[in-house]
Symmetry: C2
Subunit: 128 residues, 2 copies
Amino acid sequence: MSDTTEVPEDECLAVWCAGDDWCAVTCAMDVIGKKWHPVIIHRLLRCDELRFNELSDEVDGITNKMLSQSLDDLEEKELVDRTIVSEKPVAVEYSLTERGRSLERVIDSLEQWGKTHLQPPESEVESA
Amino acid sequence: MSDTTEVPEDECLAVWCAGDDWCAVTCAMDVIGKKWHPVIIHRLLRCDELRFNELSDEVDGITNKMLSQSLDDLEEKELVDRTIVSEKPVAVEYSLTERGRSLERVIDSLEQWGKTHLQPPESEVESA
DNA sequence: CGGTATCCTCATTGATACTG
DNA sequence: CAGTATCAATGAGGATACCG
């Protein structure tokens, strides 16, 4: 029951794209194309579950606001799960949902392309 | 001389991302993550070569300015080739470069994901 | 710890009109 | 046909501070 018809009724994901040709790429980009989404997903893909601050540390450069906002959006899109681990000393853990994990191929091809065609600065990263 | 070391000296593609972890996904997104880039590349992937107006018609919703601007950016990033077909009645054709074509996997996985998880509105597209 | 709230900036996008 | 110029709007993103 998870690969036949994934789209909920309240889901508006498909709406803003349903123009002349539907365009799945544009839609997909609208979902994961936000500035911080790809990295966040990428990290979650590798670490399985992370706390807010761990994520904040992992992503590097992201502000609380953007992390929170991105996570919020990702949750709303059912790509990320938010789990309260502890109430008293507030502790929350973020992980990918099934749907989120399904993005692995996308993120992976993106990463692959980046590594192949953008050239990692492994040998000249210390110049800055 | 086109598949050994693809990165030109003036190329700043790798620069803005060379932070703490390099992050290929973020870099890749910076290249193709612009609003219209994915669709344009997608069309070019399917049509091989298109004129400015054909593209303008294909993309649907894009303005001259954005198309021109996107194409310009794509050219600068060496993803798209601009070929002047005719001088007098100005005619230009756009096509993907090798590098641009290398994005096929990315665009494809993006499209695949979109189609699988965002559900094309084929059966309810006429409600609007 | 895990966020929110506020304010501010500037980049992206768009509409419209004009041109070689 | 294939753009460019200009102006304006929008909103994404960032800095900082505060909260339960």
